[in-house]
Subunit: 422 residues, 2 copies
Amino acid sequence: MNDNMLVPVAGNGLLPLRALNRRQLLAGIGAGALALPSAALAAGGRPSWMQGAGAGMRSYGTPSPAETVSRVAIGSQPGTTGSGASRTPLAALEGTITPSGLHFERHHSGVPAIDPAAHRLHIHGLVEKPLAFSLEALERYPLVTQLRFLECSGNSAANLAAPEAPDLDVATLHGLVSQSEWVGVPLSVLLEEAGLKPGAAWVIAEGADAAAMSRSVPLAKALDDAIVALYQNGERLRPENGYPMRLFLPNYEGNMSVKWLRRLKVTDQPAMTKDETSKYTELMPDGRAAQFTFTMGVKSVITRPSKGYGLGAQGIYPITGLAWSGQGEIRRVEVSADGGRSWADAALEGPGGPGAMVRFRMPWLWQGQPATLVSRATDSTGARQPTREMLVQARGPQSLYHYNGQQRWQVSAAGDVRNSYV
Amino acid sequence: MNDNMLVPVAGNGLLPLRALNRRQLLAGIGAGALALPSAALAAGGRPSWMQGAGAGMRSYGTPSPAETVSRVAIGSQPGTTGSGASRTPLAALEGTITPSGLHFERHHSGVPAIDPAAHRLHIHGLVEKPLAFSLEALERYPLVTQLRFLECSGNSAANLAAPEAPDLDVATLHGLVSQSEWVGVPLSVLLEEAGLKPGAAWVIAEGADAAAMSRSVPLAKALDDAIVALYQNGERLRPENGYPMRLFLPNYEGNMSVKWLRRLKVTDQPAMTKDETSKYTELMPDGRAAQFTFTMGVKSVITRPSKGYGLGAQGIYPITGLAWSGQGEIRRVEVSADGGRSWADAALEGPGGPGAMVRFRMPWLWQGQPATLVSRATDSTGARQPTREMLVQARGPQSLYHYNGQQRWQVSAAGDVRNSYV
């Protein structure tokens, strides 16, 4: 045992990363061992569930009945059930992949019940040959696999709008982000097949929901890494993620990855659809609106400890969370336990890659002291996640979208955790 | 358009990889365009599902009712419902991640209904301090994230045992393999905490199912990359994958990753449990049995085209499949359309990494000719997937486990596909 593992590397108890792999330190600090002496085996006796054969195989599995993890903060416009959002329960999850059943939702008029055999994707406008694709036809095209985060542009907005830190948990604040392995046809291939006419500069994507949700996509993005996604985490898209097909634009704000995709109209200018004028624009301090703010910024959030996931007995606690960026790969996540006065580098995990989330971890020695836990991410462009103060100064109080400020969790001497601005 | 994209790079129509990104070639070969002229939009009319608001948000999502993909070849010992296996529907899936609901199953006495609050993991035997861990306690330990395949040692055995190629599909033949992102506590940390005594050389892992499924694990593996897994694809383990905790031994045959893990006994020799003597040994040609054949070999399989997923109109078809190895990372997958006389390199995709599956893709021009499609993988140790013939010669006809021979799909002039040995 190496005692200097307990020497903090930053203020208020952040420990060296190698402590992550030396759990016996917990006993060393005399602060309540987690493991108990094993006496039960000696007393004999097998649990009741070993006394008889268990359940049989199933055609499609579901979580244990003992698990109650579900999407949270489900809310809809008054008078509707499907014009709103639900959020991924970030604190209850681990690793980097979001189970498809817990992927966040954001619908503008609910989830349409589409007959996949009747559904068509049309490509028209400034093209040589207007084309219509069935799901079966798209299956014949070469597919590509992308592990990617998807974040709603309105994610975390509650932290920007309220003058005082709303007492909300990490899922309610930041749960409009999820990660899946998406598989689909490169949009460039379909556009090439239709043949672009001179002047083509934008692609207007429309969904087959009742809202006909529509966004204007720059042609350069459509020809770059955009796909028409058919699969999510191995299987067909889930209904709430655009079944049977959706546009997927890596790194762009989520609503542009139009779900239930039914047409792509090639144009020479953006369409100024209702969805990109009444919403998804940023009212700036000078009264003008920033529009077409596509790319999601560099961001991280500590998922545990967090509100509702506080501390019990004193000892070493793992600090963990997620980081992502629409601008480049995550290169670094720093964690602070003293509200940003001192920082230490966290360990990064997960498959990663361009446009992918990473999981970060940091060991922390908590001996009952109050603390403010913060994380900040840096991506491969050198961009570093700003503080909330910096964002408010730059954008003013009426801004709503693309909040990527640092999340601060205030830990009390009792081990409770709450959202904090300071 | 570059006509030399249609010049095969290997026998019987294998095309250069760059054809994967130039779908317009399909039209160029005059063999039935997949996309249809888009006239429907001009005629106006929105589909019925755009006429009214769709369904609302849900706390936990499920696949579309239009999707019928499920585990296949569910079979159990006579008189039981839970002593058998179910298989992952490989041909219906894409990308590299297996949805947890479709992960293969192999149970020895069904799925126990474990109370997670009452469950304990005991570590005892040749240790200084026998310990018992609750699920809650394990949550406090540092976790690690691993994207890993898991393969049953009996996977693909049908191809070895039968004298003639059984007319089975890819899921029934090879569906005892899946991939998940697993998150858990390094076993080395827990063993260090218990304190190993001199002479410790093996760890006997026992499950909390009625079969008390038990395997002997070399201590070196337990101290290397073994974890006690708590999460699968972001959420808690599924019941059929060991809820609330399982051993996970990357690259080893699946049954050693003991599910519903309830104890780890440290010993100086293997326990010779019923599960490693009556099963999971290889009867060799000389009558002796090879035991403790842990590591899964280098392997690949074409998932489409495959039996039940045949060809229609002539044209370019994507050949795709999965490759994995317990010995090292997949470096190369070659595909043949002429039964192995000539080969071409496939494109590799997915997050990959040590112990992870990769997706491979190869474009193929099919003009009605009969063909035999085969793939072979090579890993970072230089090991190349053998032919079935090589395996049979090396092991004799009574071998059952660790079949990693090349899968051959015979395509008829009508476009039907069947399993083939020649």
